[in-house]
C-alpha cells in the first residue's frame, strides 16, 4: 500500500507543473487568442478590444496566472476563450466518444495482437511466423489516415456493410479497427518475442516432459509469464488512445479529446489546453498505477518483492 501512497503524493506537484508549463508556453509563443478566434474576418478594432476585455485578456499575464491558480484550487478550471463554456463541460462532452474509441481499439488490438503473437511465437521462423509478423509490421507502419480512408472505401462505400459516419455501436467498428491495427501490430511483435523467450525456459521443457497438451502449455504456463512486456505496452498505448486519436477522429468525423486539444492549441485557448493537459497527465499517472497493479496479478513474485522492499 505504501507504494501507492508514494505514487499518489507525486501526482499533485506533477499536475501543477504540467499546468504551469502549458500556461507559460502558450503565453510565450506568438499569436493573440483574440485575433485567432476572430480569424481573418473583418471585425473592427472596437470588436477586438471588447472581446479581449470580456475574456479578461486585457489583464497582465501574472494577474491572469494567479487568478487561474486560485480558481483551479477551488476546482474551477475556467471557461474556454472560444466557446465561453466551462472547460470541464467541454472535456466531459468529448470524453465519452474518446473512451468508446479507446476501448474499441483496445479490444481489437489485444485480441488480434495476442492472436497473431501466439501464431508467430509458438513456431518461430516458420512460414506462419513470417506471415503473422508481416501483418504486424503493416499494422505498425501504415499511417492511420490511410487505413481509415481505405476502411471507409472498402467497407463503407464499396461494400456498404457499415455506416461511415452513422450512429451508435456500428459506427464504432471502423474507427476501432483503424486505431486498433497499430495497437495490434505492437502487441503481436512483443507477445511473439516474449513467448519465444518463455518457451525456451526449463519449466516449459518440464511441462512438456510431463505430457501436458500444447494448448495447456501455451495458455496456462507460457502466456501468463510472457504477458509482462505486452501489458506494459498496453498501458502506454491505452494512455495514448484515451488522450485522443486526432487523425482517426478527423477521418471518421468523430468528436473526441484529440480534436478538442488540436483546436484549442491552434486557437491558443489557454484555459482549455491547460485543463486538457491536466486531464491527460492524470490519466497517464492513473494508467501507470493500473499497469503496476496488474504486474502483481500476473506475477505474484512482484507483489512479494514490493512488500519486502
Amino acid at each position: 500500500m505504501n507504494f501507492f501512497i508514494k505514487k499518489l503524493i507525486i501526482v499533485i506537484p506533477t499536475l501543477y507543473i504540467a499546468w504551469t508549463v502549458v500556461f507559460v508556453t502558450l503565453n510565450i509563443i506568438p499569436g493573440d487568442p483574440v485575433n485567432l478566434m476572430l480569424g481573418g474576418r473583418p471585425a473592427s478594432e472596437e470588436v477586438r478590444e471588447n472581446v479581449r476585455k470580456n475574456l479578461g485578456l486585457d489583464k497582465p499575464v501574472a494577474e491572469r496566472y494567479v487568478s487561474f491558480l486560485i480558481n483551479a484550487t477551488k476546482g474551477d478550471l475556467g471557461k474556454s476563450y472560444l466557446t465561453r463554456q466551462p472547460v470541464t463541460k467541454m472535456i466531459k462532452e468529448n470524453m465519452m466518444p474518446t473512451i468508446q474509441l479507446s476501448i474499441g481499439g483496445l479490444i481489437f488490438g489485444v485480441f488480434f495482437g495476442v492472436f497473431f503473437g501466439i501464431i508467430a511465437g509458438t513456431k518461430p521462423n516458420s512460414m506462419r511466423d513470417t506471415f503473422a509478423m508481416v501483418i504486424a509490421l503493416c499494422g505498425i507502419s501504415l499511417p492511420s489516415f490511410w487505413i481509415g480512408m481505405m476502411l471507409i472505401f472498402i467497407f463503407g462505400t464499396t461494400l456498404g456493410w457499415v455506416p461511415i459516419v452513422g450512429e451508435g455501436f456500428v459506427s464504432l467498428i471502423l474507427p476501432s479497427i483503424s486505431v486498433g491495427l497499430f495497437f495490434a501490430g505492437g502487441m503481436a511483435r512483443l507477445t511473439r518475442s516474449s513467448l519465444v523467450d518463455v518457451l525456451n525456459q526449463d519449466y516449459i521443457r518440464t511441462a512438456k516432459s510431463k505430457g501436458l497438451s500444447t494448448y495447456n502449455i501455451i495458455l496456462k504456463h507460457s502466456l501468463r509469464n510472457a504477458m509482462i512486456p505486452p501489458v506494459t505496452l498496453l498501458g502506454i498505448q491505452f494512455g495514448l488512445l484515451i488522450t485522443g486519436a486526432v487523425i482517426t477522429e478527423e477521418v471518421f468525423a468523430r468528436p473526441g479529446l484529440g480534436q478538442l486539444l488540436l483546436q484549442a492549441i491552434l486557437a491558443k485557448d489557454i484555459p482549455l489546453v491547460q485543463a486538457l493537459v491536466v486531464y491527460m497527465t492524470a490519466v497517464y499517472i492513473f494508467l501507470n498505477l493500473i499497469v503496476d497493479f496488474t504486474y502483481g496479478i500476473i506475477d505474484p513474485r512482484i507483489r512479494l518483492e514490493r512488500k519486502s522492499a
Binding site: 509563443i29 506568438p30 499569436g31 493573440d32 483574440v34 485575433n35 485567432l36 476572430l38 480569424g39 481573418g40 474576418r41 473583418p42 471585425a43 473592427s44 478594432e45 472596437e46 470588436v47 477586438r48 471588447n50 472581446v51 476585455k53 470580456n54 472560444l82 466557446t83 465561453r84 463554456q85 467541454m90 462532452e93 468529448n94 466518444p97 485480441f111 480512408m149 471507409i152 472505401f153 463503407g156 462505400t157 456498404g160 456493410w161 457499415v162 455506416p163 461511415i164 459516419v165 452513422g166 451508435g168 455501436f169 456500428v170 467498428i173 478527423e250 477521418v251 471518421f252 468525423a253 468523430r254 468528436p255 473526441g256 480534436q259 478538442l260 483546436q263 491552434l266 491558443k268
Partner: protein, 527 residues
Amino acid sequence: MRKLIKYFLGIATLTFSFSFFNTAYSLDLVFSEDRPDLRTLDPRITQSRHEEMLIVNIFDQLIAADSNGNHYPGLAKKWDVSSDGLEYTFHLRDDVTFHDGTKFNAAAVKATFDSIVDPETGSQGAVDILGPYASTEVIDEYTAKVVFNRRYGSALTAFTETELSIVSPTALEKLGNEGFGMAPVGTGPFKFKNWEANKKVELVRNDDYNWAPEYMDGSGPSQVSTLTYRLIKDTSTRVAALEAGEVHIAELVPPLDMRRFDASGDLKTITGTVSGLPYAAFLNTTVGVFQDINVRKAFFHSLDRVKMTNDLFFGYAEAAFGPISSSTPSYWKGNEDYYQYDVAGAEALLEEAGWKMGSDGVREKNGEKLTVFFPCLLEPDTCVAIQGYANKVGFDVNVEVVMKARQDELIFANGYDMLVIRWVSLDPGVLIIPFHSRNIPEPGKFKFNWARYANSGLDQLLEDAESAETQETKDDLYMQIQKHIMDQAIFLAIHDQVQTVAYSPDLEGVRFANGNWQLRMYDVRNK
C-alpha cells in the same frame, strides 16, 4: 478462444442487420460541415459563415433577401426611410411568434438591437453591421423606428444580414448570452432541438411557420421535418458519406468530385459565387520590391488568372479581376479590362524598372534579387500556382504555408511582401476595412489594410460612399474606389470564392441564402 471467435461473429451479424435498418431512412435532411468547432448559434455574437449555415434556418430578419440580394418583406411588411436617412420605420407583421411562444413585436426588435451594441454581449459581427446605430423606438406594438447617428448607406442591406436576425427577448433573458448561443430561439422555419458537441446539431420543423418570404416556392411549414447538421471536417469522408447516401447534402465539395457528379448524374450540384472580397492578394506597398508600382503591375500581368482558375477549379470558379467579386452589388465591370495576361508586357515593365534577368532566371537590380516573400494562409495550391507564373518573368517567390498565429506576427512586424484574403460580404461597404488608411496594422493592433496603402483621396471616397444618399451616387463612388485600387495595383484578385454543394437527386428546392454561401432549407422537398 472459441468464445472470443463466437463473440466476433456475433458482432459481424449485428453489423449486417444494422445496415439493413439504415437503408430505410426517414425524410430527414442531413447536412455536412467542414468545421468541427461550432462555438455559438447566436446571430448577434457570431461572425462565422459556418455557424450562420444553421442560423439562417432558425431565424428571420426584418427584410428578407434572395440569393441575388433582392429585398422582400420579411418580419417587416414595409418600411419607410426619413428624408435625412437617419430613421428607418418598420411596420411589422402581427402574426409571428418565436419558437418559445413569445409574440414577435417592436419590443423584440428593440431588445435585439440594443443587446447587440451592449459590450457585455461581445458581438463579433452584428455590432459592426449595425454601423452608426443610435437607438430603437417602440412606436406601437407593431411599429419600430431604428435611428442612426449619421446617414448609413448600407442600412437596408444590413437589415437583411443574418447577424441582424431578431431573437426572442424572453429566451435571451432566461438563458443569458452564453446559454442562448447553445439553444437559440428565433422565428424561422426550423427550431433548435439538440446539439451534440463537435458532432451534430438537430433542428426540427416549426409547425407554426406561416410567414415565408414571397420569393420562396412554398408557404406554411417546411416539408422537411428534421434537419440534422453533421459536422464532417475531412473532405474525403464528407464526399464518401454523401455518395453512400448517409448524408443528403454536402457543402465544400472538391471541384473534381463536382465534375464527377455532374458527369454521372448520380448527384445534383449547385455552385454559388460568393459576394464580398474574392480570393485575392494584397501587395505590400511599404517594404520590399512591391514599393515600385511598375513591379506590382508586372506581377499582375505575369498571371494567367483565367487558365490558373480553370486548372484549379475545373470550371467551378471564375477568375476574378476587381476588389469585390462580380456578385457583389456596385461591382464595376471596368475591373475586367485591367492587367491582362501579358508576359512580354510584364518583362518590359520590369526592364523599365531596372530589374535585369540574372543567369539563374531571377531578375536583379544593384545586386539585389527580385524576391517576394509570400506567407500563404489560404489555398496553398493557388499560392504555388501564382509562384509558378511569376517565376516565368523573373520573380523569385518564396511561398511559406503559415498558420494564423504566424501570419498575425508577420502582419504586426510588417514582415511580408504579399498576403491573401477572402471574405463573404453582402455590401461593397466592406471595402473601407481593407483600404482605409486608418486600418493599416500596427504592432499589437490587428487591422486589415495589408497593402499598407495610405491615400487621403481614397479615404475620402470610402467615407463618402458609406453615407451615399442615393443608389446612383453609391454606385458611382464605389466605381471610383474600385478604379483607384486597380490603378494602384495593390490588390491582386485571383478567383471568385465559390460554395460547391452536391445533393441527392431525389431532392429539389435547395437554394442559397443571400451572399451565396449558406443554404436555405425551407423549400427543400422530395421530388
